[in-house]
Amino acid sequence: MSPRNWLPWTAFVAVLLALFLAFLYAPPDANLGDTQRIFYFHVASAWTGLLAFTVVCVAGVAYLRGGAPRWDRLGLASAEVGLLFITMAVLTGSIWARFAWGTWWEWEPRLTSAFVLWLMYAATLLVRNLVEDPARRARYAAVFGIIAFADVPIVFMSVRWWRSVHPVVVSAAGLELEPPMVLAMVVAVVAFTLLYVLLVGERMHLAALEEELAECKRALREGERVR
């Protein structure tokens, strides 16, 4: 059975379960009340974004080694979907900050490094639009994706390396949350990871269709030239 049959339903059920746990099962936070529930999907978005950019790096290395077009398609799909999830993480983080810190944005290590990450992957996608030749475009995008990956560990470690107002969720002591909150967070992370896989699959299919269309158009033009 193809993943295209069962994956959308699995992701849908996982998202429903995550919403149930985040809104109804997990208790409200002692200090922040119900608004703290943004946290579950904020963490899940950020995790999925970082996972997506790790996949971009792996796909870039694989493309440079073998040159198979499917790795380039994976890199493109993962960069685009990763940018979507990081945008979600930055937006929800900003809304959280407005409530918890009284400001929409703070130039502190975690937020700044996440913003730089967003810019780098937006640039990766822009590079693809600037280069005409498909092989050269894929090579540039692979190199750019690998370089941009350097910011992923910086984003993750920023709250540990520098003084930051951003809360540390995963520390050396483990998760600093009550068990129902941990469950809600883990299920949200799983649901968003499934959504990521689903979206990357669809985006890769779209990229394959774009390549096929370009090929057909070329055949059509060459045929007309022969006539």
């Binding site: 119900d34 529930r37 979600m88 937006l91 959280w96 409530f99 779209l206 269309l213 057909c216």
Partner: protein
């Protein structure tokens, strides 16, 4: 207080929905274009193939 919570969730689901819509809409458009081009290519190759068959006879 709940405004921020709902604002956050609205942002997430709106972005996901718009992206889904973009990908599925573009897929449909490309599939339509591909079908049209394939039909066009097949229609053009048919007379050539039948002429080759006649020549072979």
């Amino acid at each position: 207080m709940m405004t921020y919570l709902f604002l956050g969730y609205t942002a997430i689901w709106t972005l996901l929905f718009v992206y889904f819509l973009y990908v599925s809409g573009r897929q449909r458009a490309l599939e339509r274009d591909l079908r049209w081009i394939r039909e066009h290519l097949e229609a053009r190759e048919q007379p050539v193939a039948s002429a080759q068959q006649q020549e072979a006879r």
